[in-house]
């Protein structure tokens, strides 16, 4: 426990976390500090490419085993299953209508790739290895939650606007394509490929992540300010309870599959995190009546900071404690 606290404190005073806090603070102070949209997108492309490539190169170095397939299956099951838990939990904790509950549930079944990236950088910092193919698991977990949430809604008598065009869009979503593509490139070109571009995708990685989190702090802070009042205490409680619940379930899967401590920590992070890029866009199409001020604020304003600051160090600590790092 003591050790976890000290790790959390350590985590707290990293440039990454503090950059996020700076962004939050600037937004609350109504500063006009802002990162241009194009630069934010450019950084996200960089991060997706780098994390995907490194994952693929890792797989090339260590070889593929059946755990990869099991992990992918686990990820898909989790992404389908977690929205059900979220949907039920929301009924207990909030008075949202089914549409908003379904929309929120979709977010929590899916994943946040930046939370994943932040977790890998914490693992790197502690020298804990993890399976490179976890980025593929991350990609696999992006979409199923949307289907699951729409099914939950239809079971409750609701109706989304989802059509085949939407499913096509979700599957060919830019971030999935880039992540998987970079993973494959990393896998094909391997360590040699990584060596060619490591001074681009490895060396400056942490620094870019700082600026990206600065931007996310700004966006999250502005969102929180705008939507004050739309979230009740119950919703906030959901945003804080759902991550550890998801993480615990993710851990069970990791143990069953036999992931390393690092891999288990990442599986926990994926299960605990909530989408804020792909799913919100899909929800605008599929469930236009659902309120962004609810699902975006919960995902980006409550759960993301929670995972970043408190969740990740706990998940890592728990995984290493149980599996041994």
């Amino acid at each position: 426990m003591n050790e976890i606290l000290s790790l959390a404190a350590d985590n707290l005073i990293s440039p990454i976390i503090l950059s996020f806090v700076l962004g939050l603070a600037a937004a609350f102070a109504r500063s006009d500090l802002s990162v241009p949209e194009a630069v934010a997108k450019g950084m996200s492309i960089y991060l997706l490419f780098a994390i995907g490539f490194k994952g693929g190169a890792g797989v090339a170095a260590h070889g593929v085993d059946q755990t990869l397939v099991l992990s992918l299956i686990a990820g898909i099951i989790l992404s389908f299953g977690l929205p059900i838990i979220a949907f039920l939990l929301l009924r207990v904790l909030t008075n949202f209508d089914t549409i908003n509950r379904a929309a929120v549930a979709a977010h929590y079944g899916s994943i946040s790739i930046v939370t994943f990236v932040a977790a890998t950088s914490v693992l790197d910092g502690r020298g804990i290895e993890s399976e490179g193919y976890m980025v593929a698991v991350a990609a696999a977990m992006e979409a199923p939650a949307i289907i699951s949430a729409l099914w939950l809604l239809s079971r409750s008598g609701g109706q989304g606007q989802a059509d085949s065009a939407l499913y096509r869009e979700i599957l060919t979503n830019g971030s999935i394509v880039l992540l998987v593509g970079a993973f494959l490139i990393g896998g094909i070109t391997g360590e040699k490929g990584l060596a060619t571009i490591s001074s681009f995708i490895v060396a400056p990685f942490q620094g870019v992540l700082c600026l990206f989190l600065l931007d996310m702090g700004l966006v999250a802070g502005r969102g929180l300010r705008e939507s004050r009042g739309d979230l009740g205490l119950g919703a906030v409680a959901f945003g804080l309870i759902m991550p550890p619940v998801g993480a615990a379930i993710g851990l069970v899967f990791a143990l069953v599959i036999g992931l390393s401590a690092g891999g288990a920590a990442l599986m926990m992070v994926l299960s605990a995190s909530a989408s804020y890029i792909a799913v919100p866009a899909a929800m605008r199409v599929a469930l236009p009546e659902a309120k962004p001020s609810i699902y975006l604020t919960l995902s980006l304003g409550v759960t993301f900071p929670f995972n970043l600051v408190i969740g990740i160090p706990i998940y890592v600590a728990v995984a290493t404690q149980i599996i041994g790092g």
Binding site: S34, R222, E226, P280, A281, R284, V285, K291, L296
Partner: protein
Amino acid sequence: MQTHDAKRVEIIIEAPLERRLTDALRAADVTGYTVLPVLGGSGASGTWSREGQVSRASGMVSVVCLIRPDRLDTLLDAAFTVVEKHIGVVSICDAQVLRAERF
């Protein structure tokens, strides 16, 4: 200079719906339009801004369409199928255009 009557239709719509709108327009044989970026705005559902955003979810675009007056209703019907269920603002102005053969 010789000008011709036309309608200028401006559809401000959520960015994730852009492709659906332009598909609907083309399906209705409206092949001329121009898409302009939008920085931010305010409406019944609050204030938003594109700054620092990665996702297209919270953002809009403005689709401007110059069209012959007799084709207006076709356009509006097509646009309405998309805009109806979603956030979107549709406005029409009377306009004049040069080179009517283009429309």
